[in-house]
């Protein structure tokens, strides 16, 4: 890999990971506001929040693991 790219790649990957995390949390908060404010069914809102949070957490874990693995390989 080009040394110029390799120097900036860890920063870029961490920036993408942090950006994705912030986006997931912010959107989750917005959606949770809508579910609990308007859905008229607290059980459904809680279930939706658990499923959303669980899958987002799983995917963010994959992203974090890949970021650490790439940084270790550089």
């Amino acid at each position: 890999m080009d040394p110029a790219i390799a120097a900036y790649l860890p920063t870029l990957l961490w920036a993408i990971f942090i950006g994705a995390t912030l986006l997931s949390v912010a959107l989750g908060a917005l959606l949770a506001y809508h579910w609990f404010r308007y859905a008229m069914n607290p059980t459904m809102s809680s279930t939706a929040l658990i499923i959303y949070g669980g899958i987002a957490f799983f995917l963010l874990s994959g992203l974090l693991t890949a970021t650490i693995a790439i940084n270790a390989a550089l």
């Binding site: 990957l13 993408i16 994705a20 986006l23 997931s24 959107l27 989750g28 917005l30 959606l31 809508h34 579910w35 404010r37 308007y38 859905a39 008229m40 069914n41 607290p42 459904m44 939706a48 959303y52 899958i55 987002a56 995917l59 963010l60 994959g62 992203l63 693991t65 890949a66 970021t67 693995a69 790439i70 390989a73 550089l74």
Partner: protein, 187 residues
């Protein structure tokens, strides 16, 4: 029984705290609570779900066409990073689509119809139509899919300049809903 047309759900709605958001009138009873048919949700999400297979398809094609390009150091980690990011973006998009679907609602009471249209996040339109103002109810089933899955569009025209008209696409069993509204209007 169709879950979108269930009397049990109506009962739960009446007892949940959230129904206060609609602000029922004194002595008003909820007759029906309607959501769009699940086919509408499937139609809106199928493209996003199919896009989830894109990274795996790309990997398979690359392995067949250009296998030598894949095996650089740490390629699996790069693939995992790109795939996780791609799936996360699609998951967020699916959550927004489902929210738009789930928060669209029609409530038919013994006095009026309340149409809640969640256009997008923070764009919500609530329309109320009094039964005594309704002039015409039109049911449209326009193609084979709608006829097969028994859903359609319900158009309600009113005489009131302030109430306006209401249209809801993807209503399950629209003929039955129309009959219920006509029955309530005749009371």
């Amino acid at each position: 029984m169709n879950i979108f047309f269930s009397q049990d759900k109506v009962a739960r709605t009446q007892t949940s705290n959230g129904v206060n958001e609609i602000k029922l009138l004194p002595e008003e009873k909820i007759i029906l609570k309607l959501r769009k048919h699940w086919v509408i949700l499937a139609r809106d999400t199928i493209g996003t779900i199919l896009l989830a297979f894109f990274p795996f398809l790309l990997l398979a094609i690359t392995q067949i066409v250009l296998p030598s390009t894949l095996y650089f150091e740490g390629y699996l980690a790069y693939m995992a990073f790109a795939t996780s990011l791609w799936l996360l973006i699609l998951w967020l998009a699916l959550a927004v689509i489902w929210t738009d679907y789930y928060l669209d609602l029609w409530i038919v009471t013994d006095k009026r119809i309340v149409s809640v249209d969640q256009v997008s996040l923070f764009n919500r339109k609530v329309t109320t139509l009094s039964h005594d103002r309704i002039q015409e109810i039109t049911v449209k089933e326009e193609n084979f899919v709608q006829a097969f899955f028994k859903y359609g569009t319900l158009d309600i025209e009113t005489a009131s300049p302030t109430d306006g008209d209401a249209t809801m696409e993807g209503i399950p069993r629209p003929e039955s809903v129309r009959a219920t509204i006509l029955h309530q209007m005749g009371k």
